[in-house]
Subunit: 140 residues, 2 copies
DNA sequence: ATGAATGCAAAAACTTTGCATGACG
DNA sequence: CGTCATGCAAAGTTTTTGCATTCAT
């Protein structure tokens, strides 16, 4: 039950918060904008204000339940925090988001930052890609 | 003369474009927002509209003269395109931007993308850092 | 001269906030 | 029941656009 998850995060288990969490966890597309969540809720007949969505998503982010990304400069997208860290590829032709993890890059990042006299707080890596001709991806 | 640079890029050498290019090239801080450029122009008594700054920066980007970054979700910053590619570190305490280049990461990125059946079109890597205690940076 | 560029102001897109009402514990 | 959350609408930010005027070639 998501109720426990919310309480564990120090948040009251209100209906809007439960609904928003359900959408984020249940969606096939893991990366949703506030507007996406809003539309999904309207679709299932839940009447939640857009302002609430923004407020709740910000709280979820602060509580570590979700992560906020800015794949394109415009609007933010949110994804439920995965167990294991990963970065993202974005197809420039379709906008599809593909997750990947690579310990080599992670390690090298920490090393570079350390060499400069800093500590790595967070990072954002997005690879913008297009299908390689002849690859199975070219079909989509 | 920047006039040549603009014409070579296929852009008419208008006064606003020349001024904006001068600001970008002459600024100590290499990463400027549209607002930053606007204020810098006002400061030197040049009366250029903010809308023009946005239009010109977008043209510069299309022409390959500048690169657009989104270090924070809010506003975009622009930098004159450097001869050699590099990525960025952003100090979370001061907002200072530090440039770095690492061929290991670049190579690994291309490899990962290739393994997934894609071609790397572009990428964005930002490391958010804080000074390492005891390092010379901690002082600033 | 002629088409493109500019400036202004209005609009657009995304997100945040104020305040009265309603819900959780 | 007290407090925090919600909804609505209004305001805030950043960026874009329409249109008459001005400028570069």
């Amino acid at each position: 039950m998501d109720t426990q998850e919310l309480k564990k995060a120090g948040l009251k288990a209100t209906l809007p918060r439960l609904r928003i969490l359900e959408i984020l966890e249940g969606s096939h597309e893991r990366h949703l904008s506030a507007e996406d969540v809003y539309k999904a809720l309207i679709d299932i007949g839940e009447d939640v204000g857009l302002a609430t969505i923004y407020r709740v998503l910000t709280q979820f982010e602060a509580a570590g339940l979700v992560q906020r990304h800015h794949f394109n400069g415009a609007h933010a997208v949110f994804e439920v925090r995965a167990e294991c860290h990963h970065d993202h590829m974005v197809r420039v032709d379709t906008g599809e988001v593909i997750e990947f993890a690579d310990e080599d890059i992670e390690r090298r990042q920490r090393q570079i930052v350390d060499e400069h006299g800093y500590v790595l707080e967070a990072h954002s890596l997005v690879l913008y890609v297009r299908p390689k001709p002849g690859s199975p991806n070219a079909a989509d």
